[in-house]
């Protein structure tokens, strides 16, 4: 049989990068695999299924140190000036983002395509960005080319990133840092955890309540071990992270988003506020504005939708979608798909032509030459449970 490429043996050409938690992963029996140039834990002995379910029921701890953490420091201490400059690159409200809050956004290109999606946080004297591991160098180049006048781009290479996710995340983290109970969804604060200065965001990539914790590399293992002392927390790998975000209907850059997908096609209109749309006080004036603003009013030619296979067959990324059970040209393509442990069945997302994007539209996925029924379904598959107040 064909063994999937998530074994502990890595055969990539370039030497894989390691996170500060590498030794802990090895000690705890992780199956490591290559991801965006890093040797990352795909799963632990508990297994993807149980790691996923434990995260939804209690709390999962994920090492996401491969992600890019960037500080944008304004030249001349003009942080509002930097906010305005950054708004040229992301069609979101950066100027109106209060200190201590963060927001989801995306870098766009001049064709309206998405260069990367990211979190933008406002700190007292700088912006903190968290970008995808696979896009770190592209993003840094883009920021330096576009914002050279406004800011210094500082990659925070000496910091690890831990994600603690799930309904028990607050309780687990509050044992070490009681102040986190006062935080709500998308808050960003300086918090001391076990005596170490950390930057904590109440957000994540699972659809659950939770935190993303930026910690100095040298303290990462100590803090991870402290969190794991609580039996409600278990380590979870990138496998569970992927199935959790898929059930939550969240996009993965490189799969569901790329330079050819626009925000409206990706069903990310909600992230573009009124102030940046036609009629708003800071409308347009960002890369790709013509295309992006037009698509907000005129339906784009294709849309990202949720997809539910009608039998038990998982339908994976790359599978073509058809309107007919037997013949015809493809009307779409799956971009993420697999088994949803909480849904207890297969789930997928993909792009389909606008004419086939209505909810409950019956389509057919070509799985290994067999067409299986698949229905356009509302996202998310599992309701979000953020702590909004």
């Amino acid at each position: 049989m064909s063994i999937p490429c998530s074994s502990s043996k890595i055969s990539s050409r370039a030497p894989a990068l390691r996170t500060p938690l590498y030794d802990l992963h090895r000690e705890l029996g992780a199956h490591l695999g290559p991801f965006a140039g890093y040797e990352m834990p795909i799963r632990y002995p508990l297994g993807v299924l149980r790691e996923h379910l434990h995260t939804r029921q209690a709390a999962g701890l994920f090492d996401v140190s491969h992600m890019g953490q960037l500080a944008l420091r304004p030249r001349g201490a003009d942080i509002d000036g930097l906010a305005r400059a950054l708004e040229r690159l992301v069609p979101v409200d950066v100027l109106g983002l209060p200190e201590g809050r963060q927001r989801y956004g995306f870098f766009t290109n001049d064709r309206g395509g998405i260069l990367d999606d990211l979190m933008i946080g406002r700190r007292s004297d700088h912006f903190l960005l968290v970008v995808n591991a696979s896009r770190k160098s592209t993003d840094e180049d883009h920021l330096r080319a576009q914002l050279a006048q406004s800011c210094e781009v500082v990659p925070l290479r000496d910091r690890a990133l831990l994600a603690l996710q799930g309904p028990a995340a607050e309780e687990v983290l509050a044992d070490l840092a009681p102040a986190v109970v006062e935080m709500r969804f998308m808050d960003l604060r300086d918090i001391r955890i076990a005596g170490v200065a950390c930057v904590v965001a109440r957000s994540g990539y699972t659809g659950e309540d939770g935190f993303e914790i930026s910690v100095p590399s040298e303290a990462a293992e100590t803090i991870a071990r402290q969190l794991l002392k609580n039996p409600k927390a278990t380590l979870a790998g990138l496998g569970a992270r992927d199935s959790l975000r898929l059930e939550a209907g969240l996009c993965l850059y490189g799969a569901d988003l790329d330079e050819s997908t626009t925000p409206s096609q990706a069903a990310l209109d909600w992230a573009i506020p009124k102030v940046r749309r036609v009629g708003g006080s800071r409308a347009g004036d960002f890369l790709g504005a013509t295309t992006i603003l037009t698509e907000l009013t005129d339906r784009p030619r294709r849309l990202r939708v949720g997809l539910r296979p009608q039998d038990r067959t998982p339908v994976r990324a790359g599978v073509l979608l058809f309107a007919d059970a037997v013949q015809g040209e493809p009307v779409g393509k799956v971009t993420s798909g697999g088994y949803g442990p909480t849904v207890s069945g297969p789930v997928a997302m993909g792009y389909v032509a606008a004419a086939h994007a209505a909810l409950n539209t019956q389509l057919f996925a070509d799985v290994r030459g067999r067409r299986v029924a698949i229905a356009v379904t509302a996202l998310p598959f599992v309701p979000h449970r953020y702590k909004r107040r």
């Binding site: 049989m1 063994i3 999937p4 998530s6 074994s7 799963r43 496998g239 994976r316 697999g338 290994r368």
Partner: protein
């Protein structure tokens, strides 16, 4: 007689019928199995051809037929409980039974000691 392939399938031979499954090592590499696509009874398989597909949460993997022959039974228990592949890979987690058409093909397969040595 228990034989193994380099691709981590096992087969238990009884007369001209072989029961086929994947090894403990293979299931461990796959992780949690959530779906198995089994061959239809009557299908004629070539040695090395795709006989079944096993899906874990992460990925789909093909299971190859260790010998040529005709499928005489598929383990329907796996459609109800695919996790049997994880819990009893060498027992209740078997995939299918095949009537061997070229018995000489068995000679090229490994015994348990050779398989374990190959895995290292």
């Amino acid at each position: 007689m228990l034989k193994y392939t380099p691709d981590h399938e096992w087969l238990r031979v009884d007369g001209d019928i072989a029961t086929v499954g994947i090894t403990h090592y293979a299931q461990e590499q796959l992780g949690d199995v959530v779906f198995v696509h089994l061959p239809v009874v009557g299908t004629r398989l070539e040695k090395g051809g795709v006989a079944a597909v096993v899906e874990s949460v992460k990925a789909a993997s093909e299971v190859y037929s260790p010998v040529s022959g005709e499928v005489v039974e598929a383990n329907q228990a796996l459609t109800v409980e695919p996790a049997l592949v994880n819990t009893e890979p060498m027992g209740k987690g078997w995939f299918f039974k095949i009537r061997i058409s070229v018995s000489a093909e068995l000679d090229g397969l490994m015994d348990e000691a050779a398989y374990n040595a190959m895995r290292g």
